[in-house]
Every structure is written in structure tokens, then in C-alpha cells.
Symmetry: C2
Subunit: 311 residues, 2 copies
């Protein structure tokens, strides 16, 4: 497997530097999951780190929610691979002086997120450190390799669920307000889309990723990896009801397109695909020859910046 | 797979609290590796976190050495499972403001440790954070399940390599001195024993673990997990030459038995096993009915405390 072509931005600059340093001691970096063949199927593997004061604050979330969210973020990568039956390993770092209860509460959340997707925790490691950090590794079983590559001109772009809820919560917290209940739950308790991911793979998904950095930014990664151009009509985006309840300034579709950490799936499906009523799925654009992402509103191109943890 | 019986100490108090909190959403916690069946073999999985100012200091090691050591620590868990052909995922946390070179240097060390065991890096995640931390997850292929359980009365205890070298380096650094070259290399560049681990499993290993916390402490874990008593003759311990070069105060065998992070293997072999010249392997004791670990020196029992990250 050669390396997946990478999009732009400071995080991908780091991945590019790592890939160059590793040379032949790495394989297939830059996708949501790594795939390893086993018998007549594939194992999909992903690791995801959540760090206090970077990804969350203890004032915002309970320890159980911190654990759930960290695990859900990793599980969402499996969803983007159409992988199921997850097992997880959890490497926990907790400040010195915290007792067994802190570890137990964090892991109760991790375990609940696994259980909700039919999975179990099978191992881990513990350390002290200056802040809470959880590195969650998940392994699931996939029928075929689906990643960011594979979208082709003529495909249509679809997105699961609704966007912008998690950003509405973050916006409230950062402004010193409590978020609306619906927004808070989207941030604290995201539900990874494993059932939808598997269904989409079984129904012909050609390329898929989960929206962890926001649609505007993540779409660029899919376009770069597939070597195609994407056109997304912001007027068609499924907006989370929490955006309206949160009194956001400005244009809600642009807000939602830049909202990270919704953990919905963006998928390129064959042109003949007509949607489903199995789960919320909305057609938001199409794939064409070329490179890059064009966002339109009322037929006019608009420019938005994606969210990047290193920007 | 039921939970492995756990030894004593603050770290295991935390693991016990986690296992209680997780209930049925966990499986088989407390061993070096988790095992997942696949086709006609097993996958062995382990995750290991290395945190700046807890497991290492940047004044002691280059970034490449920090990466190597973090990966070697995880790979050593695979060695204890007799697993080979490792793949790795690396979750890196690095302070804000560090550029792509820091990530690349850390990962160059991770990649070199994988390459040295015939493995590759297949994925990862990047975050900023207050300190450097690496959570390395490794997956290898194992022919059967070998862990901390399985030692039986009549078995003999053997250890690979030599002990105490890494502790000699730590002792020097903590006293404000530069360690002797041999001690430094044992701490900075441990070589995980995958070849030996696989060989031992093929030759009848009944229980095995890697010495990350020190022989005195780790032997207690093997005894507790197997439900047996262990007797170790300190006079037979293979001592690292670096102990003598480092001018250690006191008794070298006791020093070596309490030295963490040598990443050698402690293994219970059937009584009929006669050793090997394939790699350094020393008989240091035996397994009997009962519980706990007895260390002897010149035939007399002695008491040593094991190293525990949370003690």
C-alpha cells in the first residue's frame, strides 16, 4: 500500500515530515484507519489521542464523558472504514495524586462507548503526567478497504446526521456561557456511526472519512487523497438544531461546515445511489475531475477556513 | 477469557478499580498483551505510554532515542507473548510551538525500533500538549496464548540477557552524573527480545512477562497471575557489566533485581528444559505450590521492594 496523498495544513505538514523520516519503515500513513489483511477479511486499526486543555476541559465534561468522547473519536475512524466488532486498548495519563477512582471513571466512559458499538476493552497502560490524556487504539473487522482514496468523477457526496452541534457547544464554552443542552450532548456524547459506516460500505461506498476537523477541512483531505475536485452546496447541509438554540452569530451553514468533532461520515457514493431511510443521510455535493474543494452558497463560491489542531 | 489475577501495588489497585468499573465491557485485562483470535493464529496487542519527566527527560535522551525507547517498551510486551511481525500505531503529543522536525525525529526512532524487529509503522495521531508523550500500540502474530498465567509447580524460572543496566543509568542521572556508556545504551536503546520470545514459546514456555518494573516486582505479578510461589536465587542473576562500571553502592544483585526497564524476559519453562545457546538465558529459580515470591541470597531469604510507577 503506498502512502495516501495528503491535504494541506500544519497537521499534514507534520505527517509529511514523519512519512519522509520513516521511509520504508512506514506503510499507508494519512488515512483514518490502517488496514491489515487477516484470513478472508481486513483488520482496521486506528489510534486517537485526547489531551486535557487541547481537546477538552475538565470544567466542561465529567470524567465519564471525557472517556466516552475519547473512545468515540477513535471508534469514528472505524466507522469511516466500515469496520465493526471493535476492541480497544486505552493508554491513560492522569496527574499524580489522583486515585483509582479517576482512572475508573475515565474508563467507565471508554467502556460505555465500546459497549454501545458492540465492543470491549481488552487492554491498556497507565501513567502519571501533567494533564489527563487518553490514547485510545481501536481494532475492528472490515470486509474491504475503504478510505479517503477512491472517489471518482461522477460520484455524489453524502453526509450522515447533522453538522455544527459540537461547535455550538465549544462556542458557548469559549464565550463563558453554558451551551444549550442539545449542543452539549453533541460535544460530550458523540455517537460514532459504525452501523451507518458498515451499511455504506455494503452499498458501494467508494471513499469515506469521518468529520473530526470539520467538513470544510476534511473534504480537502478526501479530495487530495482521491485526486479529484469536490463541489459542496452549503445550502444542502443538514444543520444541527443546536445551532439555532445556541444563538450563533452569522450564517449557520458556514458555521456548521467549519464545525469540528461532529464525528459524522462524509462519503462518496456511486451516481446511481439514491439514499436510504435507515439513518439520516443527505446529499451535499458531487465529485468531478480536478483538484480541491469548492463550497457554494446560492450558486456562488464561498471561502471558509478549515479547523486544524496545529493552525 | 477471564481476568488475569493481579498482583499488589498502587498500579494494580488502579487496574483493579478499572476492571470493576468496566465489568462486562472489558476482557482479559492485566496481562502484557491482549489476544484476539484470527484464522489459525492469534493477534497479540499491547499499548504503552511514555511520558516526559515520568519515563524520561529530554536532557538524557535525543528525540530519536525517546522514540526508540517508547516503541521498544511496547514491542517488549509482544516479545513476552512470543509474537512477531509487529505493526505499530503511534499517538504523539508534543508541546505547541515545536515544528515538524520534532515529530519526525521522534518517529524516526519509533520507525527504527520497528524496523529492527521486522515491523512497520502503519498509523498514528498527533496532538499538542504540555509535555512529550508517546502512546505506542503494537500488534503482532502469535502461535498460541502465552501470558503471565500458566506457570506450575516444578517449572524452572529463566531470564534473558542481563539485568540492572538501565537502573545504573537512571541512578547516575538522578545523582547529577553522566552514566557509563554501557549503562546509557541499555536505557536509551533497549533491544526488545522478540526472537527470544518466539523461540521460548516454540520450546514450551508456560508463562512469560517482560521486566519493565524490575524482576522483584514483576515476579510477583507472574506468581499472582499463575497462582504459584516463585523462589529466585539472587546469586544466580545475570548482572549487567554496566553495574560495575557505574560504581553502584551496595549489593549488585539486589540492585539488579530492583532495576526497572531492562526489557528482558522472565519465563517459566518445563523442568526438563536445559537452556539454549541461541541467546543469553540464565536459570534463576523455580516454581512451587503456594503464593508469592521468595528472593534468597546465599540460601537466606531477603526482602526487596519492587519499582512501581505509582508508588
Amino acid at each position: 500500500m503506498t502512502a495516501t496523498p495528503l491535504g494541506s495544513g500544519p497537521e499534514f505538514d507534520r505527517i509529511r515530515a514523519i512519512a519522509a523520516a520513516l521511509g520504508s519503515s512506514a506503510r499507508g500513513l494519512g488515512d483514518d484507519c490502517a488496514f491489515v489483511p487477516t484470513g478472508n477479511e481486513w483488520l482496521a486499526l486506528s489510534t486517537d489521542v485526547s489531551v486535557e486543555r487541547v481537546h477538552f476541559r475538565r470544567e466542561w465534561l465529567s470524567l465519564e464523558e471525557i472517556g466516552w468522547r475519547a473512545a468515540a473519536s477513535a471508534l469514528s475512524d472505524l466507522a469511516a472504514a466500515g469496520a465493526v466488532e471493535p476492541v480497544a486498548l486505552a493508554a491513560l495519563t492522569v496527574p499524580a495524586g489522583e486515585g483509582p477512582d479517576t482512572f475508573a471513571s475515565l474508563m467507565r466512559g471508554v467502556g460505555a462507548a465500546l459497549a454501545a458499538t458492540g465492543g470491549v476493552v481488552i487492554g491498556g497502560d497507565l501513567s502519571k503526567g501533567e494533564a489527563i490524556a487518553l490514547a485510545i487504539t481501536v481494532v475492528g473487522r472490515a470486509r474491504r478497504v475503504v478510505g479517503r482514496r477512491g472517489a471518482e468523477p461522477g460520484d455524489a457526496l453524502w453526509v450522515t446526521g447533522a453538522l455544527g452541534g459540537a461547535r455550538a457547544a465549544l462556542t458557548a464554552w469559549n464565550a463563558g456561557r453554558q451551551p444549550a443542552a442539545g449542543a452539549r450532548i453533541r460535544f460530550a456524547h458523540p455517537a460514532p456511526r459504525l452501523v451507518a459506516g458498515r451499511w455504506l460500505v455494503e452499498h458501494g461506498a467508494k471513499a469515506m472519512l469521518d468529520l473530526s476537523d470539520g467538513l470544510a477541512g476534511d473534504a480537502k483531505h478526501l479530495a487530495a487523497a482521491s485526486g479529484v475536485a469536490l463541489r459542496i452546496d452549503l445550502g444542502t447541509l443538514p444543520l444541527d438544531a443546536a445551532i439555532g438554540e445556541s444563538g450563533i452569530d452569522g450564517e449557520p451553514a458556514g458555521f456548521a461546515a467549519q464545525g469540528g468533532e461532529d464525528y459524522e461520515l462524509l462519503v462518496a457514493m456511486p451516481a446511481a445511489f439514491r439514499g436510504t431511510s435507515e439513518f439520516p443521510l443527505t446529499r451535499i455535493g458531487e465529485v468531478s475531475a480536478g483538484l480541491g474543494v469548492t463550497l457554494t452558497q446560492d450558486g456562488r463560491p464561498v471561502t471558509l477556513a478549515g479547523y486544524d489542531h496545529f493552525a
